[in-house]
């Protein structure tokens, strides 16, 4: 079982697009933000139109209807596919195929929010989100939509630039991947931690002070030696 919640949506080009579904907490925060925005909008409108009897009240009631039902649908169909609350939390709505959300799906998922709310305080929606790996509420299941994190977190950066060193023995594919992944994350770790992790690969790394044919000797610490091997694997000779 994997702990990663990322989903792969396959495209017609035969590649998988990575989708990162948002869990209950960011979505609840987004909903609370939206609720606050709607509340403030309605209060301002009520203060302005409250003095006008009849027509004013009518517009206010229609406005209430719009804020309740049309606000999320309209925002999710605009470019960005997110209500202001979702936008603040970096979320947006897409189809579970990775495609942009369709009008009928946006309508479905927002009307069915009522079913998610039942029996009280979004209990069904929350249960559904907690029980599924893709965090869909009932409306999302029916509409075939997902709420995803927009920005992908970049844990790995470019490899640190060091002199390359050949590994001591030919490496398997899995070993090469492990060394490249660790080197990609080296900038985010302390030097001591890189050393500590690199000692696990000691058998694959060239020995300290290894200097074939009068080349500059290999570093003593295992971390820099691992980074050097990573550069060699990258193709620098």
């Amino acid at each position: 079982m994997t702990l990663d919640t990322a989903l792969l949506a396959e495209t017609p080009e035969g590649i998988g697009i990575l989708l990162r579904p948002a869990g209950a907490v960011p979505r609840a925060l987004a909903y609370a933000t939206d609720w606050f925005i709607r509340f403030v909008t309605f209060s301002v409108a009520a203060a302005l139109l409250g003095g006008v009897k009849g027509v004013g009240t009518g517009i206010l009631l229609i406005g209430y209807f719009g804020l309740e039902w049309l606000y999320p649908i309209a925002f999710e169909l605009l470019p960005g596919a997110a209500t202001p609350g979702k936008r603040m939390l970096g979320l947006h709505v897409i189809m579970d195929t990775g495609l942009p959300v369709t009008p009928s799906a946006a309508v479905t998922r927002n009307l069915l929010r009522v079913a998610d709310f039942m029996p009280i305080a979004f209990a069904f929606g929350l249960l559904s989100m907690l029980m599924r790996a893709d965090f869909k509420r009932l409306g999302d299941i029916v509409a075939g939509t997902l709420v995803v994190h927009g920005e992908q977190v970049r844990l790995a950066g470019a490899l640190p630039d060091v002199e390359p060193l050949a590994p001591r023995v030919p490496l398997t594919r899995a070993q090469q991947i492990a060394i490249l992944h660790l080197a990609g994350r080296a900038r985010r770790l302390t030097l001591e931690r890189v050393d500590e992790l690199a000692t696990l690969a000691e058998n694959a790394l060239p020995p300290p002070d290894y200097a074939p044919g009068g080349a500059s000797p290999a570093p003593i610490r295992p971390g820099p030696r691992l980074l050097a091997v990573a550069q060699w694997l990258m193709g620098q000779r």
Binding site: L111, A156, G235
Partner: protein, 351 residues
């Protein structure tokens, strides 16, 4: 030996940068297209910012980028390289497969063909919901007519007084109102009725029971109100009030219940699909019905606010107009778009 990550990056870097630039330009709303270069004056060189990739070029770059991503994943290139390609491919994918039209043609098809056809496809659900709505109306209506006190078993005394105030004889010029004016009531009807119908639809997800319960409850209320007002001798005022907008409103309530029941039906008896697939299929099938009942409720709200309540129109006129509206609604739902073959249209387009 396979290409090393460095060689790979060096070789295709230009492709990725070109795609990134093209996408950023599209995001900023600039028109893409190689023609921009043609506008340059003689002797002027095109700078990088002026020549943006055209749509066809972006599609080509996107396919190349997909290929590179597949290769990079397969060859286990470093994470930062794969991540960069993933982000780029995802951005281009969203851009290339976005919706192009804003659905005016789709809207026309919806009104002319899809909505009535979707309603007719729900005929058995409609039958059930109609019975669940109409039987309580008659049962409670007749019970109240026989014994006016029966109304208190359905609604409490305060609400009965409100009915009396709304349709009673004290106010000759206004019907169905306690206070306020037409615009206010228009807003109220939209907010209240459309909201209720959405809830009725969504409640169907709870195995269809939610929709049926809401429909039956509304039937009970309507029956109690009608029976009570008939015993009070206000039947003409009441029926001339409800007949016109009722054509739209009562039909819309039944439609919302039937659409909800269809969702519940899909959960209970998914047939050869999984429950999730059956639900998604049901929601696609019922979306035109949802569109239909929302539009009907808007029409009903306008009629109820501005026509039904007008005391100066003779009841006879209201009955005639109301009868026409009922005929119109049934004709639209029953007959409109019959014999229309969507496959034929598709074939015509394909040709």
């Amino acid at each position: 030996m396979a290409m090393t990550p460095r060689q790979f990056e060096a070789r295709y870097e230009a492709t990725w940068v070109e795609l990134e630039k093209g996408l950023s330009a599209l995001d900023k709303g600039k028109k893409s297209g190689g023609r921009k270069g043609a506008k340059l004056k003689a002797g002027q060189f095109a700078t990088e910012t002026q020549v943006l990739p055209s749509g066809a070029r972006i599609a080509q770059l996107y396919r190349q980028c997909c290929e590179h991503l597949a290769l990079a994943r397969e060859r286990a290139y470093p994470v930062h390289l794969v991540t960069r390609l993933e982000i780029l491919a995802a951005r281009a994918h969203q851009r290339i497969y976005r919706r192009r039209d804003f659905g005016l043609a789709a809207l026309r098809d919806m009104v002319l063909y899809d909505a009535p056809a979707a309603v007719r496809a729900l005929r058995w659900h409609l039958l059930v919901v109609t019975l669940v709505f109409v039987l309580p109306i008659f049962a409670v209506g007749i019970a109240t007519w026989l014994d006016p006190h029966f109304v208190l078993t359905v609604v409490d005394a305060r609400e009965v007084r409100m009915f009396d105030g709304m349709y009673g004889q004290d106010d000759a010029m206004r019907l169905g109102r306690t206070s306020g004016d037409d615009w206010q009531m228009f807003g109220f009807y939209i907010m209240h009725n459309v909201g209720i119908s959405f809830q009725c639809f969504a409640a169907g997800l709870i195995l269809g029971v939610g929709s049926l319960a809401m429909i039956a409850y509304n039937g009970l209320l309507f029956g109690a109100l009608a029976g009570f007002l008939i015993t009070r001798g206000d039947s003409e005022r009441f029926f001339s009030f409800v007949i016109t907008h009722g054509a739209f409103e009562l039909t819309a309530i039944v439609l919302s219940g039937a659409a909800g029941l269809k969702l519940g039906h899909a959960v209970l008896a998914p047939g050869r699909l999984t429950r999730t697939q059956a639900l998604m299929q049901a929601s696609r099938d019922t979306m035109p019905v949802v569109f239909c009942f929302v539009v009907m409720l808007f029409i009903a709200a306008a009629i109820e606010a501005f026509w039904s309540s007008a005391g100066w129109i003779a009841p006879g006129v209201k009955y005639a107009v109301g009868g026409c509206c009922w005929a119109l609604v049934f004709a639209y739902l029953g007959l409109q778009g019959r014999g229309h073959d969507p496959a034929a249209t598709l074939r015509a387009v394909a040709r």
